[in-house]
Amino acid sequence: MTGPAPRVVLVDDHGLFRSGVRAELGRQVDVVGEAEDVQPAIELITELLPDVVLLDVHLPGGGGQAVIQAIKTDHPQVRFLALSASDAPEDVIAVIRAGARGYVTKTISTAELADAVRRVAAGDAVFSHRLAGFVLDAFAASPPPGDLKPEFDPEFEQLTSREREVLRLIAQGYTYKEIARELYISAKTVESHVSSVLRKLQLSTRHQLTRWAAERRLT
């Protein structure tokens, strides 16, 4: 590990989960605070200004994206990593579009979680296999013309074939290092593909991205 351990705030409504994560991550990152709902979390984060906020997608007082929206305009340097047990795609996509730098499931191993926190702290994007699947799904069909807002920018509406390949491998459980080896590119390039996907995900004007999630629920 290089540099000081990232300062982390945990936001989760399950006390048991918070203490578990804190005990496991304690040695690898610096957990500076905990909050269990939207309003206390906003106050705590504004006060502590941590490097990374580990944010549960589901919070009683409005969901994880409310926290991000309240913080990001004033303190863009605070980075968010979304964490969830439920994996409902519409919630995950909403949190990412609100500005989270990544999404991991609660079943993730401690070592991987610590690594994800460090990478988010360094400004990288962290995609779990499940998020990669959601994103592939959301960008799968080309949008019908009427589905785009007037400020349609084609750059953000499609994934390149390379980005798709990277996401497929992430969805298959490959690490960035393994992807780099598999595709004969550098780990840095993999990282930049993932960041570019994250940007597209946040800037895309496709209605589909949010509507798709609702449709999936019906099927």
Binding site: T107, H129, R130, A132, G133, L136, D137, A140, R168, A171, Q172, G173, Y174, R216, T219
Partner: protein, 438 residues
Amino acid sequence: MEHPAPWHRGPSWLRNRDGHGGPLRRDPADRLGGGVAAGVATWRGFNVTTIRIAFVLATLISTGYFVPAYVVAWLLIPAAGEDASIASKARSDTSGIRLAVGLASLLVFVLVVAGALNDGWFSGWAWPQVVSLAGLVLIWRNSSPQEQATLRHLVEPLGAAAGAGARDEGQNRRRRSILRLAVAGVLVIGGAGWLFSARESLDLLQPLGGVVLVIAGIVLLLGPWWLRIARDLVLERQARVRAEERADIAAQVHDSVLQTLALIQRRADDPQKVIQLARLQERELRSWLFEGRAPNETDDLTVGAGVRQIQQDVESRYGVPVEAVTVGECELDDNLTALLAAAREATVNAAKWSGASVISLFAEVEPTEVSLVVRDRGTGFDPAAVPADRKGLAESVHGRMTRRGGTVTVTSAPGEGTKVSLKMPRAAAQPHPVSRAR
């Protein structure tokens, strides 16, 4: 390490770009002659009967020249599931080639003599058959046993006319068939005589009577033989269907019973676990035997639901977490059910043997196909060193996929984990590669 389906070899000019994805292959499962029509039908997605009618029309229009073309196609196009065409085998069969040339030249001689005596309609049709005859001789000598049986049917009436066909039949039968042949001969000759003598006559009824007599003679001569061919074809098809069912049952038993027995042996020191496994297996077997439900049959009708089902079952039975991701969604058809069964088998294999702490299952539904990747970071193996009698991957995964036109790619090396990539065309996107007899 690549495991391409067996029919992905062969002359490249026979490969097709728009049809069912595979190259053109004769279809021995649905043949009347060489299976060329059935092969073309499944290749291009037509009805077999349409193709057959087209072939007959082509024969009539080309005054017989289509027949040798058919025979040449029979020679050059490999049968489905085989690598080599008959022609490639025949190339090394020198005595067969000599026989073919000999018979063909004999026919040429006969035709020359016939042409000198009576130049007409008959020899126009017979000339192209010189090539057909030579081709059929080569096929006869070099094709698989089933195809030889078909050819025996084709030449049987000639043998019967010579009295040889009745050899292995009873005395009584033999006398009857001789009688039948005699009556038929009289009818044909009489009818033909009538026909020819009536040529100059202006009476229209007379040649008609001759035609009726000739047809009656031909029916009497060849009718029983046609019936037998039809019956044999039906029997042959039934036998094939039975063989396929047996293969399916074997795969099924392997997936459930043998897997459970292997588990029981590994857990022999834990009586509670053994009882639990035995109960589970008993339930499965009962529901399969008495309720007709395959042990792995999925209740839900979509790919995503099927993948979730595999995830749940493998996690609960083997205690290995499965991380499943499905991109896109579609309803299951027969092909995709087979794909899921193969994926289940690959996942179970990974859970049992790889020793990996987690297994990834990734399914992606695309417009024309569904791909599924089962990956683990376990011990891996050398695919080339797997003994042939280890049925798991070979029959359950490979067989299931290739029987329905899918492909399997296994990438593995000792110490580097295993990745099984399965691809299956969607039935809605294109016709079933093999149309079975109903």
